[in-house]
Amino acid sequence: MANVSTRCALGVHCCVLVTLLGGCGPNESEPEALTRESSASSLVTSSPGEGFVHSAAHSKFRIGTTTSGRSEFGMDKIVGPEGVFATVATSGWAMAIPNSDAPSRFAGALTRSPETHNNTVREYFVGAGLPVAQIGTVNAHATMHTSSTDGDVTQPVFDSYTSVITRAIDGIPVSDSFAVAEFNVNGDVVEESVYWPTLPTSVIDDARALRTKLANPSLHAAFIAGLPDRFADGQVMIRHSSGAVGVTFQTAASYDVHERVQGGLFRVRHFDLQAHEFKMLDEELPLMPDKGTKK
């Protein structure tokens, strides 16, 4: 959690640790598209669970001229006339979000090739310091629009791709981590979001141990037999908390299964090395009285 416990104030290029992780904020006055500085990829450490904090200094997000910094709602923000680059202060989850009328949103897509977009986003984040060895998959998610006349939906029109990088350590998915970006035709990042926390070696070791256990047929059978519903098609992974404001960091090795709930909807269930079911802290059911007078 070193990457989330030590952060620079906005506009200060200072602290060594956070600089290593790409976490320092930029100066208050930024060029129209945030300037990308020298690659941090050469600073990769040997820790298998090293994290990555995306920073405005390494961002191509088009934020506009004349920015200002502020801290509110648990986030450090760089606010420009075209959008906001916000970082959750406690976790390092960085998100660059355009204003609804930002020109970057309406410039047009970078490409109609999902592969080209995926490669662009991959190179962009690796150049910004994302540990290349931890990249799992890169998938292009399409955005389309349509309308209808007399009930007939018109031919959908392609708007853009967003590429989503997932994380895996030693082939084990770290499913809650993500690096997401959409580029437009001008080469600007329209929107991006990155949460890639440092993970303790102990959790990675737990996940490896669980994977080894399940690779042994007899141990696998015993493990599955110990599950309440004998889920056989689960997957070993590393889970961690969402990184949202107010969420305590938590991480664990898990055997995750997808279950179709009676009556519809899927849900995900987690089991530990001993086949005991558990929930992440941010999945615990909240208690709050209803509000409003029922009439």
Binding site: F73, M75, K77, V79, P81, V84, A86, V88, I97, P98, N99, S100, D101, R105, P114, N139, H141, A142, T143, M144, H145, T146, S147, S148, G151, V153, P156, F158, D159, Y161, T162, T166, P173, S175, D176, V180, E191, S193, Q235, S242, A244, H258, V261, Q262, G263, G264, L265, F266, R267, V268, D282, E283, L285, P286, M288, D290, K291, G292, K294, K295
Partner: protein, 404 residues
């Protein structure tokens, strides 16, 4: 500043950002005109006293700032399972996390949004979503005091739905399906595609002994009217929803999403839903996933940049949900070669939809309306002549279209 409505026609050709009035001073703090506001809004938060004075003497038109959050979620379906007549096998799900974290984060001190109605489990009634002013309504129908009361502008509901629109008829093309039905297309699959129909109403299940409608809301049947700014389709003029977000099973299905929701629009500016797409012989229908942090991440987006597009937040919600929160597209496995997951099991999308009185408005409603501009009643939809939808898939739905 005055907007010439005719200029909005430009948006027919170029999807462009229309100016609007934002209230408050988040983000850039710039004052922008509403899509249809003829005079500046009066007395917004932090506005100069002069503007308020102008309002009092009638020079500038007051625009009511609606900034409430309403949330209704059902996690406990035990009553539905055990009711004496026609029990429904509906497992418990985690909707409380979704609605509560949305509600809490949106209404945190300083955000400018205030909490309105918050109902959970057995306090969520089917009649909460039903307009008593529609002819033929149930005597207990009462959205007027619940999901669509006059105050809230953003309302979030979460509960079970039913994927009974996913048929078991295998198909190679829509010619293999009944008239009006479609063959769902997928990325390459291990199983045949299956048909889907738009003729079965979409549903939202509640679970309460106080139900008046068998715990079922069929929201496209003309009795769910959101926004209710005028008496469209027999609705009352007593609603408040600017945006409705509904997370349930098979909430809408392509290509039927307009016809399945058309009757819900009565002033609401945007409806956001989860849209499963794939239906295969191997895996059955895609479906929404119970994703506890859905509401939290959506609200996090909103407070990070309140001047961002609401639809943008709904779409980003797909990308930042864990890929493994939901199985793969289309075969519902752990192989995500073609995508999938991210809050949806199989292939699917988050969709934002609108009906309004012009092509320019309806595009603005979906593409450009921000969290802040959703506070102004001047931005309400005021007609049904045009519709528009934008959706963001958990796979490459540009390469692999919805139907074949």
């Amino acid at each position: 500043m005055t907007i010439d409505r005719s200029s909005l026609r430009v948006a027919l050709v170029v999807r462009s950002a229309l100016p609007r009035m934002d209230l408050g001073n988040f983000g850039t703090g710039k004052s922008k005109m509403s899509k249809r506001q003829a005079t500046p809004a009066c007395c917004p938060r932090n506005a100069a006293a002069l503007l308020c004075g102008l309002s009092i003497i009638g020079i500038c038109r007051p625009s009511r700032a609606l900034n409430g959050i309403t949330a209704e979620g059902v996690s406990n379906y035990s009553y539905l399972r055990t009711q004496p007549v026609n029990p429904v096998q509906a497992g418990d799900i985690d909707c409380l996390n979704q609605v509560k974290k949305f509600y809490d984060t949106m209404t945190a001190a300083g955000t400018g949004w205030v909490g309105n109605k918050y109902y959970t489990d057995s306090s969520v009634l089917d009649t909460d979503f039903r307009d008593p002013d529609v002819a033929g309504s149930n005597v207990h129908d009462n959205d007027t005091n619940n999901f669509d009361d006059a105050a809230p502008d953003i309302a979030f509901a979460c509960g079970h739905g039913t994927c009974d629109d996913a048929l078991v008829t295998n198909c190679a093309s829509s010619a293999n399906c009944s008239a009006g039905d479609y063959c769902m297309a997928n990325p390459p699959s291990g199983g045949s595609s299956r048909c889907a129909t738009g003729s079965v109403p979409r549903k939202f299940w509640i679970s309460s002994a106080s139900s008046s409608l068998l715990n079922l809301v069929t929201y496209g049947d003309g009795h769910t009217k959101l926004g209710e700014t005028s008496a469209w389709g027999g609705a009352g003029a007593n609603g408040g929803d600017m945006v409705a977000i509904i997370a349930n099973s098979c909430g809408v299905r392509p290509p039927f999403f307009f016809s399945e929701t058309a009757a819900m629009y009565a002033g609401v500016t945007q409806i956001d839903m989860i849209m499963p797409v794939s239906n295969t012989a191997v895996a059955g229908s895609a479906d929404a996933v119970v994703y506890p942090n859905r509401g939290l991440k959506l609200a996090q987006y909103a407070v990070a940049n309140p001047n961002s597009a609401i639809s943008g937040g709904w779409f980003n919600n797909v990308d930042t949900a864990p890929q493994t929160t939901g199985s793969s597209c289309p075969d519902v496995t752990n192989n995500y070669t073609f995508g999938g997951g991210h809050g949806i099991g199989g292939c699917g999308a988050h969709i934002s939809m609108a009906y309004d009185s012009s092509a320019g408005f309806v595009i603005w409603d979906v593409d450009t309306m921000s969290w802040m501009s959703a506070r102004s009643t001047a931005n309400r939809a005021n007609g049904l002549s045009n519709n528009y939808a934008r959706y963001h898939c958990n796979y490459d739905c540009a390469t692999y279209p919805f139907t074949k």
